[in-house]
């Protein structure tokens, strides 16, 4: 009782702090500095309280629910926080805390250009919205906070509304998310139809009586609806445009946590609310996960806009999370609960990890952009000398996202692999093939991601500056560095404490009623995590320790052997010519081989245009430009045709309004006669 009281109070306190931050920032919007401090300080406070709250729920394990009746029909403001919600609140608060610290410094470069108060307002509302999304317990209330979250993030995406492409990106985002919400709405309406309630708890208890067809339909609708928010291919088209458009700390939140609310609802609906899943649900999610991860990383490779590149990696990582989630569903339907727990833990762990390293990468990208004023990687280069700390943090993020040991990304990918391997061993032939392909796509994804981040890090930070922009760069401010440093530290810490964290995450999973009494298929101690059947085991601390020890020994030994040797500083060997920035490899050039290899899927385009000095002779070129591009096949073969079709239908409908009054009266007579006819029949 006491716990509950404290919990609910802290919960609302964090919401209240965010709302106060929002309103205050708006009120203070006349003064940029004050609005920035107010908005972000309250965001920090709210996040701290949110962290406290979620940890208390995760540790004490007391679930908490709260209900306020509203004055509108059907709507009741009901909150319910179990461990799953608390896990996501933890995630949101953690990233929000660091992003807000970062923002304190980052927002400064918007002074006098844009309204800081509005930024603080929507930012805080966005945070509150996300927390409410993962704690809402009534479908209508959920939809409302879901849309508030989307709306706030929409305004954040179009925050720099003087750039036309940002506004366009925002529109695309808002359209996609709204259409997605329509699917979700329909899903909830169908649930309402068969259960007569909008309360998640009641739906959960009574849905079992309805036909499987309803559950299947709801599954598909929810998959599309929440999949749009999560950025699953082929519903991803908004994501690479919207995430880069937002201010970087917001991009970090959007990519790091907002898209995870889609994952949260997948788990909530498919593993908690809906009745036992049939096999094909899991299979569908597995396939989508495989496609998303592989294509996500391929598209990322083709990008040379640093934030778009990161955005595509979000799609990839959502795919990896889905691989865990999908296998969990498959195991659940095959009644192999221990394995289902393993897979879900893998999915949640990767959710946590991705939140951390993606936020880190976006923040790093943000500080680079704030110094160089461009998102084009081709104009970076050599930044490691101008921004050494940012470079280090970005490197940590790059290694983590490339799943390199000993950082955290490796561990969750290892677990995901374990669940896929178990699937290959445990299931029958057709499903086994899905698992094999999923594991294959994951293997390729890992390699390609590493390649992509060699490119991202190398082109951005290494070698020599490629443009004048870089030479003015300075190490970013203290607040920015604190935000990134903590996240970078977390990638390492979570890496070697993976065992304990696995325990905590499996506590979240076993809190779900479906997995209440099931023993997980793995064991985890502080040192070691492994499969109970002895298939595999791993010790993250040992990897870290052996790397440190071996490196130290190597260093020492080499020092002993060649301590008397001199080191000279010289120019890079240049075959006798002068090395210009143009001679370094470009981001486009780096990935060109992969693009060529996957030209079947990526459909690269190349446009050459040459201007001649003399039009008649066409011998001496004045200038020649080559434009390389990638066709988005989803856009081309799905979204464009749908758009054209709608416009056609619209033009067709417009003929109704022909301007001819005789025709108008004819409509009236016709409908009159038709109705009289119909009612007389």
């Amino acid at each position: 009782m006491f716990n509950t009281l404290i919990s609910s109070n802290i919960f609302f306190l964090s919401l209240l702090l965010w709302i106060a931050g929002a309103v205050g920032a708006l009120v203070l919007s006349k003064n940029d500095r004050l609005a920035n401090w107010w908005g972000n300080s309250f965001a920090i406070l709210g996040s701290c309280v949110g962290l406290l709250f979620s940890l208390s729920v995760l540790i004490i394990g007391s679930t908490f629910s709260f209900n306020i009746d509203s004055t509108l029909p059907l709507l009741s403001l009901s909150f319910s926080v179990d461990k799953l919600s608390a896990f996501f609140i933890f995630l949101i608060s953690l990233i929000a805390l660091l992003a807000s610290i970062y923002a304190l410094g980052y927002v400064k470069h918007y002074y006098k250009k844009y309204n800081i108060g509005a930024l603080g307002f929507f930012y805080n509302i966005f945070l509150a919205g996300m927390v409410m999304v993962v704690s809402a317990h009534n479908a209508l209330f959920f939809l409302i906070v879901w849309e508030i979250m989307s709306l706030a993030s929409y305004f954040l995406v179009i925050y720099e509304n003087k750039e036309k492409e940002n506004v366009q990106a925002g529109s695309l985002y808002f359209i996609m998310t709204h259409v997605g919400t329509a699917f979700i709405t329909l899903a909830f309406l169908l649930l309402y139809r068969s259960t007569g309630s909008l309360d998640f708890g009641v739906i959960k208890e009574t849905i079992g009586n309805s036909s499987p067809l309803i559950a299947d339909t709801v599954f598909i609708l929810a998959l599309i609806g929440f999949g749009t928010k999560a950025g699953i291919i082929p519903f991803h088209i908004w994501l690479p445009n919207a995430h880069p458009a937002a201010p970087s700390h917001v991009s970090a939140l959007m990519s790091g946590v907002m898209i995870k609310t889609g994952i949260y609802m997948f788990i909530r609906m498919f593993m908690d609310m809906l009745p036992d899943a049939p096999l094909w649900w899991g299979v569908v999610i597995l396939i989508l996960g495989a496609i998303s991860s592989l294509f996500g990383v391929l598209y990322a490779l083709t990008e040379h806009d640093i934030k778009r590149l990161l955005a595509y990696h979000s799609i990839e990582n959502i795919g990896i999370i889905l691989l865990g989630l999908g296998s969990s569903l498959v195991f659940w339907s095959l009644d192999m609960k221990p394995l289902a727990v393993l897979s879900l833990v893998a999915a949640l762990f990767h959710t946590l990890n991705h939140a951390i390293f993606k936020a880190l990468l976006f923040l790093g990208a943000g500080s680079v952009i704030s110094q160089t004023h461009t998102r084009n990687m081709e104009e970076y280069g050599g930044l490691i000398k101008y921004m050494p700390q940012t470079a280090l943090f970005f490197l940590a993020g790059s290694m983590a996202i490339s799943a390199l040991p000993p950082l955290n990304g490796f561990f969750s990918e290892w677990m995901t692999f374990q669940s896929l391997f178990s699937g290959i061993m445990a299931s029958n032939v057709p499903v086994r093939w899905v698992f094999i392909l999923a594991a294959g796509s994951l293997a390729f994804t890992g390699g390609l991601a590493a390649m992509c981040f060699v490119k991202a890090f190398g082109v951005t930070f290494l070698a020599r500056p490629r443009s004048e922009n870089v030479r003015h760069a300075r190490e970013s401010g203290f607040a920015l560095r604190v935000g990134m440093a903590v996240l970078a530290a977390l990638t390492l810490v979570i890496g070697f404490t993976a065992g304990s964290i696995t325990n905590a995450v499996s506590g979240v999973v076993s809190d779900l009623s479906a997995f209440n009494s099931s023993e997980p298929a793995f064991f985890s101690t502080i040192q070691t995590v492994g499969m109970r059947n002895g298939f595999a085991s791993i010790s993250m601390p040992l990897i870290l320790a052996s790397l440190i020890v071996t490196m130290a020994l190597t260093f020492f030994a080499v020092y002993l052997v060649s301590r008397n040797r001199k080191t000279k500083i010289g120019r890079t060997w240049d075959c006798g010519t002068t090395l210009g920035p143009r001679m370094e490899i470009t981001a486009t050039g780096f990935s060109n081989s992969i693009v060529t290899i996957f030209r079947g899927a990526l459909k690269p385009t190349k446009q050459t245009s040459i201007e001649y000095r003399d039009e008649d002779m066409r011998y001496f070129q004045k200038s020649s430009t080559v434009e390389l591009g990638i066709q988005d096949i989803y856009n081309r073969y799905f979204y464009q045709p749908v758009h054209m079709l709608t416009i056609k239908a619209s033009e067709y409908m417009k003929r109704i309004q022909s301007g001819n009054i005789n025709m108008y009266v004819l409509y009236i007579l016709a409908i009159l006669i038709a109705l009289l006819f119909a009612s007389g029949m």
Binding site: K654, G659, V665, L666, L672, G680
Partner: protein, 219 residues
Amino acid sequence: MIPITPQILFFLETMLFASVVFMHIAKKNSGVIFLYAAQSLIIAIALFYSSLKEASLLLVVAAVATFLVKVIIVPYFFSGLIKKHRLQFSVSTYLNTPMTLIVLALLTAFSYSHFFGPLTILAPDKENALSLAIAMVLISIFLIINRKGALSQMVGILSLENAIVSFAYVAGLETTAGLQVGILFDIFIWVVIASVFASMIYRHFGSLNVSVLKHLKEE
């Protein structure tokens, strides 16, 4: 006083019906207006007759007002319009005369069909007259659809109103004199406003052919 038998009612309705049919055929605007005046006259007489029968002074006033507005004032307005804008001939129709007549026949057949059969509950012995009144309603609307001339359309609407009044009369659904006067006042204002608009259209578009009103459509 002679009682109003179903036969007499049927006769009156036939006359009214015929007047609308002739409106469809009439080529000259003055002809259409004359037909409207005749139509209104029949209704005014019928109203007057039943007001005498009811021996109610208010009803007499209403009938006289009907006469004044519909038979005198409205046609006067219209002929003023015709003179002002020299509109001897009505603008063309969408369907030619034979086609128009076929449509009229179909609409009449529809109103005689079983779809309207149970209307006889309203007035069990006046089935034919009721059906004709319904036919008149439909045909009046069709007049508005078929004619391109603004004037004919206005007459179509007025004739629609007459059709409804005649239906109410046949079915014995007259309302109080006060309401009748109210409705009449409405109609009167309507005619005034519509005439003003017709003049404005003439001024701005140079013709009373409504098919020139095509500024407002979806591009």
